[in-house]
């Protein structure tokens, strides 16, 4: 850690271009810490709002970063190792087994491809953690310390992407939003559900959370919330499988609400 490289200052474009453009899913991971206060309604508002990052800011940065980036991955031949020119034996090609060098990042690869999965919403994730670790063992920046500056940058990018992909795929909600995005459907997170029944239910859950005396009480509120999450996740899977994207979109919005209260409860526990 705290390793001081010669270059204390990395150009902005490098820093920004290093990681992926923010997938919508990532925004769901930002959370607001102030919701343990007694002003539940206002704090829960905050929480929602944090999801509503402005449309373009990060993308803008990334975009300009990409333009500046002198070593944009796309410049390289996709089909051979940049270092030894070997043709990859397996896909995805993040790492050359021949010369054991980390390959440049290809934005065209999606998260499912990185993990060798078909583009289905339902994933058997028992192997995901193992695959994640296998990738990290090849790509993690800690392991390329003695390699060239160029390869170290590739490692930083690839490793960050593998982490991001893992995070996105292991969370049902972010996975749902991501897979819709791959279908060209952007989930507008500022859009809210106008179903009064749902809103009432959420309000009631929040009040119950506020009144909960101990972790036992919180756990009692938590389990139906998590059931709802699973239920809507299953509905999403169905809708997505049948290409009913409007319905799928509706499911993600509902999941968003339950996911949020779920996080609120988890934080109080």
């Amino acid at each position: 850690m705290m390793n001081k490289t010669k270059k204390l200052w990395k150009p902005f474009s490098d820093v920004v271009g290093r990681t992926l453009p923010y997938s919508t899913s990532r925004r769901f991971e930002t959370y607001n810490p102030n919701n343990t206060s007694s002003h539940l309604s206002s704090s829960s508002q905050l929480q929602i709002l944090n999801l509503c990052l402005p449309h373009c800011f990060s993308q803008n940065l990334i975009f300009s970063g990409k333009n500046f980036s002198s070593e944009s991955a796309e410049k390289f031949n996709n089909s051979a190792c940049w270092n030894c020119n070997a043709v990859p034996k397996a896909t995805p090609f993040l790492f050359c087994e021949c010369c054991r060098s980390v390959q440049p990042l290809h934005h065209s690869l999606d998260y499912f491809q990185i993990y060798g999965l078909d583009k289905n919403y339902e994933i058997e994730d028992e192997n995901l953690e193992r695959k994640y670790k296998d990738w990290q063992k090849k790509l993690h920046p800690d392991l390329v310390h003695s390699k060239s500056q160029r390869e170290r940058e590739y490692a930083a990018e690839q490793s960050a992407r593998v982490i991001e992909a893992y995070r996105t795929l292991t969370n049902p909600l972010s996975r749902a939003i991501y897979i819709l995005k791959l279908e060209g459907i952007d989930v507008n997170e500022e859009e809210t559900v106008s179903d009064p029944e749902l809103l009432t239910e959420i309000m009631e859950i929040r009040e119950a959370v506020e009144d909960a005396a101990d972790s036992k009480a919180l756990n009692e509120i938590l389990s139906p919330v998590q059931e709802k999450l699973i239920q809507w996740s299953n509905s999403f899977a169905n809708a997505f499988r049948n290409q009913k994207f409007d319905e799928a979109l509706n499911c993600t919005r509902r999941m968003t609400y339950y996911d949020r209260v779920n996080k609120e409860i988890m934080k109080k526990l």
């Binding site: 001081k4 010669k6 204390l8 810490p33 508002q45 709002l49 296998d134 993690h140 392991l143 170290r152």
Partner: protein, 572 residues
């Protein structure tokens, strides 16, 4: 034998970074600087080896005595009696003091140590001094640590017969990034380059991962994922980590830590034996120092004995006709320190919660550090984790330094034909990082226990109409209010286009790169404009220096809330 002479370079901010260029990779050594003891280890080509000093000790007391003209530390000093350390001439517990301001409770708790710790309680560094020929001579924790490290380095160089430059150091989980810069500075003063700073329990996790790999290799089986809970209690700090290990790769799931440890157990016990010990000691007279030293040694000894005995008789003559004579049993010790044990329990529970790991899924429970000998702590950890037995193939006092040495070899690019260095630890952020917003609140942008490298952003807005400047104050910690967190730095965004309050979108992005370098990027956009309104600002943190405790206050005094930020508010 002639020892190579080293001098500590001056304690200045500008420690020139030289490039390490050698034909063959230099294996970095692992150092575990404990609050009370220190050890050093290296990968010798086939395994980790702990280095011993000339007195054949693997564990060296962490202190520096200023008695003679040349200060000497616990590595080389031929100290025969414990009381000499407690004479006021020696500085110890520097790991508890380093990087803390004089309003910190940990600093205040250090006032009853034999050397001088003076506070003004205004948020500057405390005054620390050693008693040399009846004169209080000032020093700093960094200087003391650097002197100590110079001795360690000389010892290692003599044994390894080569210069030592790169080190992996273990650090407490609860250390702020500011404290890390102090550790790095002490290392630089001692001519050492920090390759990695590793949270202590993650070093233990690395050793555990290697041991599990070995078992897998021997059994030719496929290693399934092993979840380990690691609890480490040293003299100064208690830390917890949860790691998930498979195939030599450890993903740290969560970390938790606090500045509680053996020193607190000791002080609580001293207070129990002599309720007015702090006030007796407040003027730091020669006789008081001596009697406190006697009490300290006797109490420490009793605590050690209570790990194997159920009761111990304490008899200590404090001089001036004052004496302590008491039979203390184990229950008494546990009761006196009940709060400490409760805090340990809370740390473990918090870590399990953050890791989202069920107790039944834990494969092994590893207890390390000096505290691991305390029956109460052993039972407490076993109780929470519902385990009959603790993991016992690890030396509790050597585990952290062995892990650091392994990391040193891995990070130096050394490979082992038997796959013993086929290891990787994926770290997480031990503390949340965020900024001040919504009044005096701390708003985390990267929450604690986020896998590194990490990058996250959050949008804020102005609090006043036509507000053209905004103050971004960056903190690290877990407290809800900014003052409960560590200040890392601050900067002003200027040139925000005039607009009604709440309209400009101020995006604050926090980036921790693969080398654990922290940067904050801030940009402003107005809705409807595709491009940032002003150039994006990028700041590398921490930027604060000693005395930063009053920076926040000064900022507040100067600006009030005129250039504050808020999280973006919208209706449901």
């Amino acid at each position: 034998m002639d020892e190579p002479a080293y001098t500590v370079v001056s304690d200045s901010e500008t420690t020139g970074e030289e490039k390490s260029s050698s034909a063959f990779p230099e294996i970095a050594i692992g150092i575990d600087i404990g609050t009370s003891q220190c050890s050093i280890a290296i990968w010798n080509g086939s395994q980790v080896e702990l280095l011993k000093n000339t007195r054949n000790q693997k564990m060296m007391r962490s202190y520096v005595t200023f008695k003679d003209e040349v200060p000497s530390g616990g590595v080389s000093n031929q100290l025969s009696h414990e009381h000499e350390i407690l004479s006021g001439a020696a500085i110890f517990n520097m790991k508890r003091l380093i990087g803390r301001v004089d309003t910190d409770p940990v600093v205040h708790a250090s006032k009853s140590l034999p050397f001088l710790v003076q506070t003004l309680d205004i948020g500057v560094r405390p005054f620390i001094a050693a008693l040399v020929n009846n004169v209080w001579r000032s020093t700093t924790p960094e200087e003391v640590l650097a002197i100590f490290l110079v001795e360690l380095r000389a010892m290692a160089e003599m044994q390894l017969k080569r210069p030592i430059r790169n080190v992996v150091l273990t650090i407490p989980v609860s250390f702020s990034r500011f404290q890390l810069t102090r550790i790095e500075r002490a290392c630089a003063m001692a001519g050492l380059h920090v390759l990695r700073l590793m949270p202590e329990p993650t070093a233990v996790a690395l050793l555990y991962a290697q041991q599990q790999q070995l078992i897998v290799h021997e059994n030719m089986g496929s290693g399934s994922e092993k979840i380990a809970l690691i609890f480490n209690m040293g003299a100064g700090y208690s830390d917890v980590a949860l790691s998930a290990t498979a195939g030599g790769v450890s993903q740290i799931k969560a970390l938790a830590g606090s500045a509680i440890g053996g020193e607190d157990l000791l002080q609580n016990m001293m207070r129990h034996l002599l309720p007015d010990f702090e006030s007796r000691f407040s003027n730091h007279g020669m006789n008081e120092i001596k009697s406190m030293g006697l009490l300290r040694v006797a109490t420490q000894d009793a605590i050690h004995k209570l790990s194997t005995q159920t009761a111990v008789q304490i008899d200590v003559n404090l001089g001036n006709g004052s004496k302590v004579s008491k039979l203390v049993n184990r229950e008494e010790f546990e009761e006196v320190n009940q709060k400490i044990f409760e805090k340990c329990e809370n740390l473990i529970i918090q870590c399990l919660h953050d890791a989202k790991v069920e107790i039944d899924d834990i494969t092994d429970v590893i207890l390390v550090g000096g505290g691991s000998y305390i029956p109460k702590l052993r039972n407490l950890v076993k109780g929470i984790c519902k385990k009959e037995e603790l993991y016992n193939v690890i030396n509790p006092l050597e585990a952290a330094v062995c892990g650091a040495a392994l990391e040193g070899a891995v990070a130096s690019g050394i490979s082992d034909p038997f796959g013993n260095l086929d290891l990787l630890t994926i770290q997480v952020t031990p503390l949340g990082i965020g900024i001040r917003a919504d009044g005096n609140n701390f708003v985390p942008i990267i929450p604690r226990n986020t896998t590194m490298p990490a990058r996250k952003d959050l949008v804020f807005t102005t609090v006043r109409d036509n507000q053209i400047e905004a103050l971004v104050t960056v903190y690290e910690g877990e407290g809800e209010k900014v003052e409960e967190n560590h200040l890392l730095g601050y900067f002003k965004i200027t040139g925000i286009p005039p607009a009604p309050k709440g309209v400009p979108e101020i995006n604050v992005c926090i980036d921790i790169d693969a080398s654990n370098v922290l940067r904050v990027l801030a940009g402003v956009i107005l809705p409807g404009c595709p491009h940032p309104a002003i150039p994006v600002m990028e700041i590398r943190l921490p930027t604060v220096d000693d005395g930063h405790g009053w920076c926040a206050e000064a900022l507040h005094r100067t600006y009030g809330s005129t250039i504050d930020l808020e999280t973006v508010q919208k209706k449901i």
